[in-house]
């Protein structure tokens, strides 16, 4: 119990530190929010231009919820790169904490940050498109898929966090490659059915595919979570498989970095 309490305290340290960083970089946070809102609006306006409320909502959901998943993914993936940039990585690695508590803290903060960020974008878009009728939407389904999506994205984020550990100079940038591949195959702005068959196979391996399908069904048709079980179980399985795998892979990468001296260098 004491060990768990100690580890949870350590997790809280990362939540608090990330909050402090967000607070200090408030100017950048506003700029990022403006960027995200402008991006979501630009994409949604394609639907408005076509005069199709369904297309508008489809694109809007894609833009908003891809933003959420990207934010969660980025915070987790940057767990290492931020510390490498600041030069604090060795101190954090020396601390008597388990790696899961570090990643748990990063994940929890990422989810809260992502929810706040996404809510602001959602409100702006609803105000911008007053013609949208969301009366039949099922908010429980939307929230459930956001949380399930975060859960399944954690493992992928952990795997992405390995890259800055192994590749000192360009590791952080390499996480963008992974992110863009997920964007390509997950049906964010189009149906996965239009993808070539081999890409459709990959789309089944991306949690974003199921999250977006679930959110769209909940928002456009008011479908309940129970009726979307076909999208729920893959997300649960991915979380259960990817998180332990991510932790295992991170541990292996950390040992490799300690053997080769890669913790020392500042990128």
């Amino acid at each position: 119990m004491t060990i768990v309490a100690h580890e949870l305290k350590a997790s809280y340290a990362f939540i608090e530190r990330n909050f402090f960083l967000t607070r200090r970089y408030w100017g950048w946070e506003i700029a990022f929010l403006v960027y995200s809102v402008a991006g979501a609006l630009s994409i949604s306006l394609i639907g408005a231009d076509q005069g199709s409320p369904t297309l508008l909502l489809t694109l809007m959901v894609g833009a908003i919820f891809w933003n959420y998943l990207s934010v969660v993914f980025s915070w987790i993936a940057e767990t290492i790169s931020v510390e490498r940039w600041e030069g604090t990585l060795e101190y954090t690695m020396m601390a008597p904490i388990r790696r899961w508590s570090q990643l748990l803290g990063s994940v929890l903060y990422a989810m809260v940050y992502g929810l706040v960020h996404t809510t602001v974008i959602l409100i702006v878009l609803i105000l911008f498109f007053p013609q949208l009728d969301l009366a039949g939407a099922n908010p429980v389904t939307v929230l459930a898929f956001m949380l399930l999506g975060s859960f399944s994205f954690v493992g992928i984020g952990m795997i992405a966090a390995i890259l800055p550990l192994l590749y000192v100079e360009r590791g952080a940038q390499m996480t963008f490659v992974l992110q863009s591949c997920l964007l390509l195959v997950s049906g964010v702005y189009y149906s996965v059915e239009i993808l070539p068959p081999w890409m459709q196979v990959l789309s089944h391996l991306s949690p974003a595919t199921y999250v977006l399908h679930g959110v769209r069904a909940g928002l456009l048709k008011g479908t309940s979570v129970v009726d979307l079980f076909g999208d729920v179980w893959p997300l649960l399985v991915m979380g259960v498989v990817f998180i332990p795998f991510g932790l295992w892979a991170f541990g292996r990468a950390e040992r490799y970095a300690k053997r080769t001296g890669k913790l020392k260098r500042v990128g």
Binding site: H6, K9, A10, Y12, A13, E16, R17, F20, L21, R24, Y25, E86, G87, T88, E90, Y91, T92, M93, M94, A95, P96, I97, R98, R255, K258, R259, T260, G261, L263, K264
Partner: protein, 300 residues
Amino acid sequence: MTAIVLPELKNGSGGLPSQPTQPVASHRRDIAVPALLIEDASKRFIVGRKRKPVVAISHVSMRLERGDIHGILGANGSGKSTLIRLISGLLTLDEGRVEVFGHDIVRDEMAVKRLINRVSVDAAFFKKLSPMENLLFAARLYGMDGTRAKREALQILARLGIGANRTTRPIEQMSRGMQQKVAIARALLTSPTLLLLDEPTTGLDPRSKLDVQTFIEELRETHDATIVLTTHDLAEAERLCGRITILNDGRVVAEDTPDGLIALVASRLGRPATLEDVFMTFTGRSLDDDVEEDESESDD
């Protein structure tokens, strides 16, 4: 200049303390557990496209008793920082073993991490965060609650000459010397029983250097801390360290008290000697060589 290696110095009055030939665990009932025990530690790195192995630490053995301040001297690239990183668990050993208060750094990793902390030459922080925010983060990682951490952080910072009014602004607005003091406060906040100071005063102005040195002396008097200090400042080593190990090309070439080393070299040179003579005798280079190397590295 070729290094003058004197293997005979490893025995006798100027040599290494005798190492136990059996595992330490079997001795624990009979002798005091050393604060730090390094036995036959070696570390190589593979570098370059030809994957050439470079020996950073070669068969190093050391033993520190509780409360010691033990200096490690050596030229740039002699393996001082690598040795500190090995003790810190930031690098894995290729051979040998390291124990901290009887805990093996590999088998009892968490126990060792709770006992040690480190201050390196570069005061690494989240630069946009304040000293207090940085210290709070570090303290929580070591299991301290926020209220206690803030109270003790203020006390330590005050002792180091940093008032409460300076603890809330971004650390990037502080001078290099002030940042280094905060780095020392960060290490002390977690009450380490083994403190690893890797060139903590390098680059500091004379006043800041004196502050830090005085503080280290106070630590010896008031805290139950054992300190490993690497430094290029020989006066600092002479002032603070009870024993000194000299590393050259990753190997221990001498270990004794400062007076013991000076006496040994004086007898060899046939004239009164200083710690600089000791350094030159065992590393084959003067401090000026090191300074020039430092400057050319910064130019690069």
